[in-house]
């Protein structure tokens, strides 16, 4: 072939093609393994089936649930958005470590923030694959139409997705710095915020001294907002803006933390040492 010097031009600050290449790399894995795709949808679907029966039971035993049959199933599915978003990002990153690919990636023109962007894109794709089947199954099985939340559902989804990215980036940064010993944080880390997020109960249920912790989490504003829609038929813009503002703050902070850990990895020579 003739030498194509144009490809040797300095790498642009951001390249959609490099971003696309990284997304393609993960889509190849999903395309090549149907069990992986099924596994993504399996757990949210099982959760929805379990909580569907619990809802049926509570409809006759709890006036609170009886006011809105969808409150538990909607909470379960939205929690899964947060959980899957975090997992989708951190597992996509760890996939690079498992396959000892970081060294090859970072001698290419790929920039660290392009990697971060590709991880968030893969997190969104994995989350949709995970949660959509369960959301659609809830209707024929339990007569609960999650989409009754209407346009606010998109606002809740995006906020939880972005919060999942922040947690995933934090975990990925720790894995990059401390190695595979920190791997289990991908699955466990997110549960640290679960008790304070008010997934199944209002924030006021928490002791007064813990409520500020809850208010510092975007997820607690989302779940309060969800209950406002289901019980009061009101979209609370204040809760949405609180969640969005906190998300911007945390995403900026965790992206900065990841890039800082990347630099430390270059100082300590970790990019070539990572692997199974």
């Amino acid at each position: 072939m003739s030498r194509e010097k144009d490809i040797h031009a300095p790498a642009a600050l951001f390249s959609w093609r490099r971003l696309g290449a990284m997304i393609l790399r993960h889509l190849y894995i999903l395309r090549g393994s149907w069990p992986r795709v099924l596994e993504l949808a399996y757990w949210p679907t099982m959760q929805m089936i379990l909580w569907g029966f619990i809802t049926k039971f509570f409809l006759g035993h709890s006036s609170w649930v009886a006011e809105s049959a969808g409150v538990l199933i909607s909470a379960v599915l939205l929690w899964d958005v947060l959980f899957r978003s975090n997992l989708g990002l951190s597992l996509s990153f760890i996939e690079e470590i498992w396959s000892r690919n970081l060294g090859s990636l970072f001698v290419s023109p790929l920039r660290p923030y392009e990697l971060v962007a590709s991880l968030t894109a893969m997190s969104a794709i994995r989350t949709l694959i995970s949660v959509a089947p369960a959301a659609f199954l809830a209707m024929p099985l339990y007569d609960v139409w999650v989409f009754q939340l209407g346009p606010p559902l998109a606002a809740f989804f995006v906020n939880l997705l972005v919060m999942g990215w922040s947690v995933g980036l934090l975990v990925s940064a720790l894995v990059l710095r401390f190695g595979m010993g920190a791997e289990s944080l991908c699955w466990l880390g997110i549960f640290l915020v679960a008790p304070f997020s008010g997934i199944y109960y209002p924030i006021e249920t928490l002791p007064t001294w813990l409520q500020p912790v809850a208010l510092a989490l975007p997820s607690s504003h989302v779940f309060e907002g969800m209950r406002a829609v289901l019980f009061e038929d009101t979209f609370r813009m204040d809760l949405f803006l609180n969640a969005a503002g906190l998300n911007v703050l945390y995403l900026a902070a965790t992206t900065g933390f990841f890039l800082h850990m990347f630099r430390i990895a270059r100082v300590k020579g970790l990019l070539l040492q990572q692997g199974e």
């Binding site: 490809i7 090549g32 000892r100 060294g103 990636l105 920039r111 630099r263 270059r266 020579g269």
Partner: protein, 254 residues
């Protein structure tokens, strides 16, 4: 080498890398000419891979500077990374992806034009066409080396860095790889930097050898110059001579 002044592609000055109390390399200074093949030769722990990692930007030095194609690698590596590539047995490509998928991903990362055609053409050159659609993880060591080399040549690099390019290969495959590297350099005029402790390989490929020991360059010259200077028959004897003399000197001093 010809006496005419050649462009310097890589210039390192006073490179030092310390990991806590361990000094991996100490005050390395060297220059690599365009179109040459330079080998870092040394035993395990000599500092070869550390030096290559710094040249690639994967590792930041504790002190010193590196300039590649006139650019400061510590500040502006993205200006030159598209002109470089790298292969090493210590890094892999995703094992579950097929060879074609991996090469396609990297062709796009490097911004290669007509990526599919280029993948096909590199696969033909590296004789990996027959397993393009097999998962990379199930290939033999020799096949993986050829795939890694195919990845390293996707962007037709002006500077190719190779860490132990024939490690764990049988002599036939090793010879094939060396022949291919020679052909690539002849065809493109690329500069090749390799780290190896395979003396025959270095003797065959390198114009310039930087002998490393304990993180320092202890001698340098063409293979012929080194062999003649030390009154030896092979580079391996030079290597052993340097290693043992210095070791015995150290023992005497202590």
């Amino acid at each position: 080498m010809s006496g005419s002044k050649r462009e310097t592609v890589v210039s390192a000055r006073d490179l030092t890398k310390r990991f806590d109390s361990v000094t991996a390399i100490s005050s390395l200074s060297f220059a690599i000419d365009a179109g040459s093949t330079t080998a870092f030769l040394g035993g395990n722990g000599a500092g070869k891979t550390t030096t290559l990692s710094i040249l690639l930007g994967l590792l930041l030095p504790t002190s010193g500077s590196v300039t590649i194609f006139g650019e400061d690698m510590l500040r502006h590596r993205y200006r030159v990374l598209p002109r470089m590539n790298f292969s090493s047995p210590y890094v892999d490509m995703p094992r579950r992806l097929t060879v074609r998928e991996n090469l396609n991903v990297y062709a796009n990362l490097y911004g290669v034009n007509r990526a599919r055609e280029r993948v096909q053409s590199v696969a033909r050159d590296m004789e990996v066409v027959e397993f393009l659609d097999r998962p990379t993880g199930i290939l033999s060591a020799g096949q993986k080396t050829r795939v890694a080399l195919a990845k390293a040549l996707l962007n037709e690099p002006d500077l190719l860095l190779l860490d132990e390019p024939t490690a764990s290969l049988d002599p036939d495959t090793g010879d094939w790889v060396r022949g291919h590297l020679e052909a690539y350099k002849r065809r493109t005029g690329a500069t090749i930097v390799l780290a190896s402790h395979n003396m025959a390989e270095v003797e065959r490929l390198a114009d310039m050898v930087l002998m490393m020991k304990n993180g320092a360059i202890v001698d340098r010259g063409s293979p012929r110059e080194l062999i003649s200077r030390f009154g030896c028959d092979t580079l391996e004897q030079v290597f052993l001579d340097i290693a043992r003399k210095r070791d015995s000197a150290a023992r005497s001093a202590s």
